[in-house]
Chain length 386, copies 2
């Protein structure tokens, strides 16, 4: 009898797999591999679509639609040139309709788009991989925000050894951009892999990384709050009106109360991309003696002139206060093609005008996660060294 | 100048949204809402696909393909009957090709299939929702498994108040089925929402829930280990050959060392679905004085007669030992249509034969997450009460 039951389980598992094949809308049991990363770092994408008239693949590995060709079995394919090491996103378009790759279960959501991902190693992206190194813990928690009269969700990375030791660690507050949330840096940004790898290589100090949700109108990422499974939008109310900056102290208090932290500015860094750069700039001024390390990645620097919050008043005064209090690193990174390039140039002139020191990193490219991952990889080794 | 920069950011965000629309392969800026859950709990699915000849929606809300109809704008739609409260999965098929809903960013992966999800409230599924209640912490950690000579990833839920208190908590070890991993119960199983809600209602004791990866050939879920972004398979080596049961002590040791736990059998429960029921059965026998609470959900009870591991020897002897040591709850749940129904009936006869007491729950339906979420919801309130 026991043998029979075990056999039944095998038959069941085989039927599940057959069903999965049939779900492709095709009777054949052909195993499709997509994407296939070749030894030379070219990539082949494949889609079984015998009834389609045209199929193409789009992604950040190349411009525009890359036409795929169909073989006798109805499998469409396209092979790229040799690709630089990077984490890429892509999608198919079959008969004018965009769709995900049914043979790739790995996705990233960016605002309301969900795209497949693939990682080409052998270079920059090796630091984005999960490698055989000690891994920190990634926790999704909720903290009380009296300033927002609610509990809010937050992602917190603690370094390898945190739970079993007694050491206090410095903290990086790492902020997302418009349309992001507490899941953006851990998924699109590969922040937890990057820090694991840098710590393992001895290139970054062990630290806690706190990744809050910068949309104060939102308790948690879409699907993770009582609002349920709704469709995310790019712009939310109260993202850049001062409320987040004003209530950021709730986050610092929560972290200092619940974790073994270095509770002064030498143990605190704040950095963010785009809107998160805006927040980092204003928060570091608004609490001018709280952060020794500031990182502005493609930052949307300046507020609307009509912004009413006191956060945005007296910008120069608070910068001078911050300068007077002292800090160790003020890091500005921007891509040459970024639509915020000129704004960052103007901002640097402003800093120069008051002799406010900063490190400046100008990269190729624009307003992309590709750049923000690079900036984070370069920024982390500079933290908490002094 | 500041106003200009802010304006530029708004233009940029608008252009991102336009681009997202264009990615649908369609020039029109029509906002598609899908799925739309109506007040009467019927659901409308929509897909913008003006060039398609046929579109249908499949899912566990109804049998087979549900044909959608096209309106003048090229939007296909289908409205269900009033649906019972449940967490549903679905996909579209356009011109014979299965695809996800581009207007729904909420997905669940089950082995190698990634399907959209929707939640219909007003009944059973309310306990699967994130509600306005205190939330526990969900951590992804790595533990050392000397028995497997590697570090392995694990999901750990700690109840609200854990981090700020000093109380010791009982622990439920909650095991996934074949093709699952440490992400199955938190995603498909809604385990962390269920326990948050039951604790808030006073229906379950605050507890730690440990969700390990039962595939010892796998360090972590697909995409979360150094194996990178590969395509998952249903069956992995060494899933039911004794190795997991033998090395389960590594998990218990890790949990007892790293958390404030009740370190005896009155503070330990173990439960699992399908293969996880198999594991729970064998682990609770193999460590016969370790668990006062055992839950077998649609369990694949018996090993292959040829299984060589000593874990599977002397089954009756170890059951008698377990009985002699005493336990508080032995809970068996199975659906009437489950392919393992007969196996569970035979198993119960075996238990009856040695006067081994158990609670029995027979439900409608088969081998589905729908049943396992219900079983978990019913099992949790029975734990750690005595």
């Amino acid at each position: 009898m026991y043998k029979k039951i075990f056999f039944t389980l095998l038959v069941f598992s085989t039927s599940i797999m057959m069903q999965a094949q049939e779900n492709l809308g095709f009777g054949q049991r052909k195993e499709i591999i997509s994407p296939e990363i070749h030894a030379d770092n070219s990539v082949t994408f494949r889609l079984l679509a015998p009834l389609a008239d045209s199929v193409s693949v789009t992604g950040d590995f190349a411009q525009g639609h890359n036409k795929m060709t169909k073989d006798a079995d109805g499998v469409w394919s396209f092979t790229t040139r040799t690709l630089p090491s990077e984490l890429y996103t892509y999608a198919f378009t079959a008969n004018g309709l965009q769709m995900n790759d049914p043979n790739n279960v790995h996705y990233r959501r960016d605002v309301a788009s969900t795209l497949n991902v693939l990682l080409v190693g052998g270079g920059q992206a090796d630091i984005y991989k999960v490698n055989n190194v000690p891994h920190g813990t990634v926790a999704k928690r909720w903290y009380e925000s009296p300033g927002n009269k609610t509990d809010r969700r937050i992602t917190i990375y603690t370094p390898p050894g945190y739970e079993s030791g007694n050491t206090s660690y410095p903290v990086l507050y790492l902020l997302h951009g418009m349309g992001g949330d507490e899941e953006a840096w851990p998924t699109l940004g590969r922040a937890t892999q990057i820090i694991d790898n840098l710590i393992a290589e001895g290139k970054a100090k062990p630290m806690i990384i706190v990744m809050p949700n910068g949309n104060v109108a939102q308790e948690a990422a879409p699907g993770e709050s009582s609002e349920g499974f709704y469709k995310p939008t790019f712009r939310l109310p109260n993202t850049m009106d001062g409320k987040y900056e004003e209530t950021f102290i709730d986050i610092i208090n929560f972290v200092d109360k619940n974790y073994r932290t270095v509770r002064n500015k030498s143990g605190r860094a704040i950095a963010g991309l785009s809107m998160g750069g805006f927040h980092s700039f204003h928060i570091s001024r608004y609490y001018p003696n709280s952060f020794d390390y500031v990182g502005l990645f493609s930052a949307a620097i300046m507020p609307n002139e009509n912004a009413k919050s006191s956060v945005y008043k007296n910008i120069e005064d608070t910068l001078l206060k911050q300068k007077q209090n002292g800090y160790k690193l003020y890091w500005i990174g921007i891509g040459k093609d970024d639509f915020l390039y000129q704004a960052n140039t103007d901002f640097r002139k402003k800093l120069d005008g008051i002799n406010f020191k900063y490190a400046y990193r100008e990269s190729e490219g624009g307003h992309t996660w590709r750049n923000w991952r690079v900036y984070l990889s370069e920024f982390l080794p500079l933290l908490f060294n002094q």
